[in-house]
Structures are given as C-alpha cells and as structure tokens.
C-alpha cells in the first residue's frame, strides 16, 4: 500500500511539472520509478508512456479552452513525430537496462542545461503583434492581460526535430517535449506558453504509439501504471491551473536542477555505481 502511494506521489509531481512546461513528466517519472522505487526499467517506461498520455489529456483540456494549444502546428509536427515514436518503441523493448539508463541520463543532462540557459528568457515576449500567417495563432495571455499573435518560422527545422523527438519518445518512455518545446521557442519563434501547450497536446499522441507496443509486449504492470496515472491526472490538473500564475523562469530553474540530479544518478546506475 505504501508503495502504491509513493507511485501516485511520483505521478503527481511528474504531472504538475510536466503539464506546466510541456514535457509530459516522463523525464522525471522513469528515473524516479527505476531508481527509487526499483520498478524494472521496461515497466517504468511503459508506466511513463501511459502517464504522458494522462498528462497530455488532462492539461490539454484547460489549455485548449484558453486557446493556448496550436492544433494546426501540432498536427503538422505530429505527422513526423508519431512515425518516429513507432520506430523507437520497437527498438526500445530490445535494449538493455544499462543502455536505456545511459541514453536517458545523457538526454536529461542536455534537457536540464537547456532549461537553465533558457530560464532568463522565459518571461520575455519580443513581439505581440505579428501577422499569424498559415500556421500562426493568437491567445489571450493572462499575465500580460493582452492578446498575443504569433507567426511560425522555420517549419522544416520543426518537422525534422519532430521525427527525432518521436524516436526518443519510443526509446525512453518520454513525450519528446524536451526537444519540441525548445525548437518551437528558439527556431520557430512560438511564445513559450503556446509552445508548452502545443507540445503538451502532441506528446499524448506520440506516447500513445509507444504505449501500444509496450502493451502488446506484456510490459505493462496494471497496478504500477494505474497508481502513477491517477497521481499524474491530479498533478496535471493542478499544474495546468498553476501555470497561469507562476513565473515561467522560476519553474524552469527548479525543474532543471531536479532533472540534472536525476540525470547524474541514471548515468551512475548505467555505469554500475549504486546511488542508494
């Protein structure tokens, strides 16, 4: 019973942070389950894929109502991502724990470094009145109390990143948002709130493709997965509402620090050095 509560708490934390920054929470949930709760890595990844679906569905309910999610851009990128996720899901079930841990740790070092570098710019909006063009959109920013209109730039870069994000998602049980959000913000010039909401919508579809493969291979533990998912639903509900009021820069720094610590632990575990 205590273990089930801990699983739900892991899901709750992953859901809060994942929904707020558009990363889905998989980058937190997999190492937390594998390292601290000793869940076998493939079951941890399977539970994380379901958790990403839950985070995406829960948070998207609010983000869609606030018009933050760009469905046109999302489906354009998702066409590339879901194909990559399918390929990654097939390869992931065949890899060893050490390889997955090492890859996951390396990816998280990159993610946390990006988040720290990006944190200062998270509260800055450069242009609020751009013409939307084909894939752009508009939304009412509650913090700025005005309508933000944006145009999407460098679509081919975004589509290429979508494929890579999909492969990584299937391999590691994450939503791929840690690649898509920075590329949308830095290369495609999408405001960070819209990028996070759009990524949040996409990662549920991406993770679904990988989750189906893990389900078919019998790698889903229903008790572990349901406990994590219920925690995630509560966390993502809370996170999608907190995101309206919390400064993006503060949250970004906090998440980067937690992810970096977990990344180090995963890399040490892959090298055969115990962390507990």
């Amino acid at each position: 019973m205590a273990n089930v509560i801990l699983l739900a708490v892991v899901g709750l934390i992953g859901g809060v942070f994942g929904s707020m920054v558009g990363l889905g929470g998989g980058v937190f949930i997999v190492p937390a389950l594998a390292l601290f709760l000793k869940v076998p890595i493939h079951q941890a990844i399977a539970a994380s894929l379901f958790a990403v679906v839950a985070t995406s569905s829960t948070a998207s309910i609010a983000y869609l109502r606030d018009d933050l999610t760009n469905l046109r851009l999302g489906m354009t990128l998702e066409t590339m991502t879901v194909a990559g996720a399918f390929a990654g899901g097939l390869v992931g079930a065949l890899l060893s724990r050490q390889v997955l841990s090492a890859v996951f740790g390396g990816v998280m070092v990159v993610v946390s470094t990006y988040l720290l570098v990006k944190s200062r710019a998270a509260d800055t909006v450069v242009d609020l009145t751009e013409e939307p063009g084909a894939l752009g959109a508009s939304y009412h920013d509650r913090n700025l109390d005005r309508v933000v209109v944006y145009r999407v730039h460098r679509l081919p870069v975004g589509m290429g990143t979508g494929v890579i994000a999909g492969v990584v998602s299937g391999l590691l049980g994450v939503g791929g948002g840690f690649l898509k959000v920075p590329v949308m913000v830095l290369a495609m010039k999408v405001p960070v709130r819209a990028a996070a909401a759009t990524s949040n919508f996409m990662i549920g579809i991406t993770a679904c493709a990988g989750a189906i493969v893990y389900l078919a291979r019998g790698l889903v533990d229903p008790v572990t997965t349901v406990a994590v998912v219920l925690g995630v639903v509560a966390g993502a509900y809370l996170g999608s509402r907190l995101a309206r009021g919390v400064k993006s820069s503060v949250l970004t720094i906090l998440l980067a620090v937690v992810l970096f610590a977990l990344a180090v632990q995963m890399i040490l575990a892959a090298a055969g050095i115990g962390v507990r």
């Binding site: 469905l71 879901v82 579809i205 291979r217 639903v233």
Partner: protein, 126 residues
C-alpha cells in the same frame, strides 16, 4: 497566396477556437471515464475482491474479469480507455478540420491516425 494560408484566412480564428473547445470536450469525457474505471478497480482491490492483479496487463481476460467484478478488469479497461483518448482527439480533429474544409490539416490528422493504427497492428501481431 499558398493553399494553407488561404485556408487560414478563409476559416479564421473563430473556427480554430471552436475546434479547440470541441477537442477539449472529447478529452474531458475520455479522461473522466478512464479515471472512474481506474478508481473503481482500486476500490475493489482495497475491498479485497477477487485475486490480486497480476504484474502483467492482459486484454484477453478482460470480459471475464469485468463480469466477475475483479479489480484487474477495471484497471485494464481504464488504461485502455486512457490510451484511446489520443486516438479520439485525432478523430475529432479529422472531423473538425473536414467540417471546416481545412483539407491539408484533415489529411495530416488522417496520416497520424494511420500511423497509430499501423503501430497498434504491428504491436499486436509482432
């Protein structure tokens, strides 16, 4: 003017925002059903009804487990409904974009659905 830009100007912001709300409702319905099923399974398990859930989810035993009100049946069905919400949201987009005559985005949504279906098929037979 390129085709997608023509579609953007033709159907405008109102159509996009209507589609946002329609997909939001689809997600809310799917999520509530999934959570209710999973909570029902959790309550049945805490009440000690039926055997303890196995560490491996099995779809083939689902009808029998549900008929016997076993926790594992509700946990499994809840997870399957949850897994169906991304598919339902893409289906909603196919319908929404088709109604709005946004053909390019409708085709993209169909392509995503096709790859998801291929994923499910190869995963089940592989």
């Amino acid at each position: 003017m390129r085709p997608v830009e023509a579609e953007q100007s033709e159907h405008g912001v109102d159509m996009i925002h209507r589609l946002d709300r329609m997909v939001s409702r689809v997600l809310a319905v799917g999520l509530v059903i999934a959570v209710v099923l999973m909570l029902t399974g959790a309550v049945l398990a805490l009440a000690g009804r039926g055997p303890s859930p196995s560490p491996e989810l099995s779809v083939s035993d689902l009808p029998r487990e549900l008929a016997a009100l076993e926790p594992e049946g509700f946990l499994t069905l809840g997870l399957l409904v949850l897994l169906a919400t991304p598919i339902a949201r893409v289906l909603a987009l196919v319908v929404g974009f088709a109604r709005a005559k946004s053909r390019i985005f409708c085709y993209m949504s169909v392509a995503v659905l096709g790859i998801l279906a291929l994923s499910a098929y190869l995963g089940l037979v592989g």
